[in-house]
Structure formats: C-alpha cells, structure tokens
C-alpha cells in the first residue's frame, strides 16, 4: 500500500505529501517519543495522537513512511510548514488509533 492509498483508506486530510507513492511496509503505534524512536520500523506508518513539533524530528530520524495523526487532533500550521521543508509525509484522520490501524490491517 502506498501513502496515498493509506490516506484514502483513512479519509485522511493530506497535511503534507512529500512522496505519496512511497510504499508503507508496516505500522507502529505510540505517543511516547523515545519508544517510537527506538522501535518504529523504517518505512512504517506511524499512528499517533501527538502533534507537537518533535514528531517531525522523530519521523525523520526513524525514516517512517508517513506520520498518521489520529483522532482529528489539531496540527499547527507551523508544523505543517516544517513538514513541507523536511519533506515528511503527514496526514490526519478522524479515526482513533485502534480503528485507523484496523482499517490498514484489513487491507493488507
């Protein structure tokens, strides 16, 4: 599944798409950044409810394919702007983490 396909599946708002054709290899869920940092697999979709600026650093360092902000959490314009600069795929869905992942897994 590509990032674009995942976004569609989750009726997601594409806050920033740097590479929508990137393949999503697997997934990871978490909000505690040091856990995500140490464990999120490369090219995974990272499901979180965190929206502060540090998610971008974590996304870059772990090389996840896309950050999926769940529960329709508010993402600041400044963070979207930074995601653009850093070419990070960032999407936002109204689904909660459990249901977002369920939709993803049902399709894989």
């Amino acid at each position: 599944m590509t990032v674009n396909q995942l976004a569609e599946l989750l009726n997601a708002n594409k806050l920033n798409i740097a590479n929508g054709e990137k393949e999503v290899a697997t997934g990871y869920a978490g909000d505690l950044l040091s856990f995500v940092m140490g464990r999120a697999p490369e090219d995974s979709a990272w499901f979180t409810i965190m929206t502060n600026v540090n998610i971008l650093a974590v996304a870059t360092l772990t090389d996840v394919a896309v950050v999926v902000v769940c529960e329709g959490a508010t993402v600041d314009e400044s963070i979207i702007e930074k995601a653009k600069q850093q070419e990070i795929n960032l999407i936002k869905t109204e689904y909660d983490v459990f249901n977002a992942i369920k939709r993803y897994l049902d399709e894989t």
């Binding site: 950044l33 040091s34 856990f35 940092m37 140490g38 502060n52 600026v53 540090n54 360092l61």
Partner: protein
C-alpha cells in the same frame, strides 16, 4: 581521511529547535556515504542525548568527531546532574515533569535507547555540576 570535527550549541528549553544538531550530523554522515544503518544508530542515540540536554539540563554543547571507523558524540551540559546513574539508565525511570510528558517525553527510554544504539555509552555526571554523555558508534 582526517577526522572531521563538528560543534553545536544546544539551546535549553527550546523544543522547536531541539534535534537540529542531530539533523545536521545525520545529513553530514549521509553525504559522506556512511552506511545508512550506522547513520541511523548515531542519529537516534544523539537525538536522545540532545533532547535530554534540552529537557533535563539547560542545554549544552554537542561535539562530534567522525573517524574512518567510528563516530564519537560528546554531549556536555552544566545542568543539575544525575544523582544515581544506574537508576537513570533503567528503562522506565524518568523525572520528567507533567508538562514535559505532555510533549511525549518522559518514558524513561532515552538513556536505554542511547545504550542500545551505540557501541559504547559512557555517562559521567556530578550533581550540581553537569553531565557528559559520550556515545561511540563503530562504522561498518
């Protein structure tokens, strides 16, 4: 190759710029053609150390030396120091405040991550004086 030396000031309590030094080092290592797995290890360990300086100390300095066969990252702060280093190294141990936890920090996994993602992780600290973390990562 001569060793390459990089130095960065890490701004304390600035969560927006936290991670900048690590991002620069990552870009530099990548450009040098260093194996992506090694780049990632260095970056993860250094980021955790950089964030710790922002959260727990008042910022500090990051000194990075890149050799042919290893990368040495030294994170030096003059913050409050760590009373019990063994305890601090334990997964799950954290003294982070509630407002820090709301930012997603405080899992107590930073130091364990640094250990896991480096070949040598040396923590030296004196209460009231500061902390120096040295991270050595061998290159493959």
């Amino acid at each position: 190759m001569e060793k390459i030396h990089l130095e960065f000031d890490v701004d304390g309590r600035n969560f927006v710029s936290a991670g900048t030094a690590t991002a620069k080092v990552k870009a530099c290592l990548k450009e040098m053609g260093i194996n992506p797995d090694d780049v990632k290890r260095v970056a993860i360990a250094m980021y955790e150390g950089e964030i710790n300086m922002v959260i727990h100390a008042n910022g500090g300095k990051a000194l990075v030396d890149i050799y042919v066969d290893k990368v040495v990252v030294k994170l030096i702060d003059t913050g409050k120091g760590i009373a019990d280093i063994n305890l601090a190294m334990k997964p799950g141990y954290s003294t982070a405040s509630d407002d820090i936890r709301q930012l997603g920090f405080g899992a107590g996994m930073g130091l364990p991550n640094m250990k896991k993602h480096s070949d040598e992780c040396i923590v030296e600290s004196e209460v009231g004086k500061g902390t120096t973390v040295t991270l050595i990562t061998n290159l493959h």
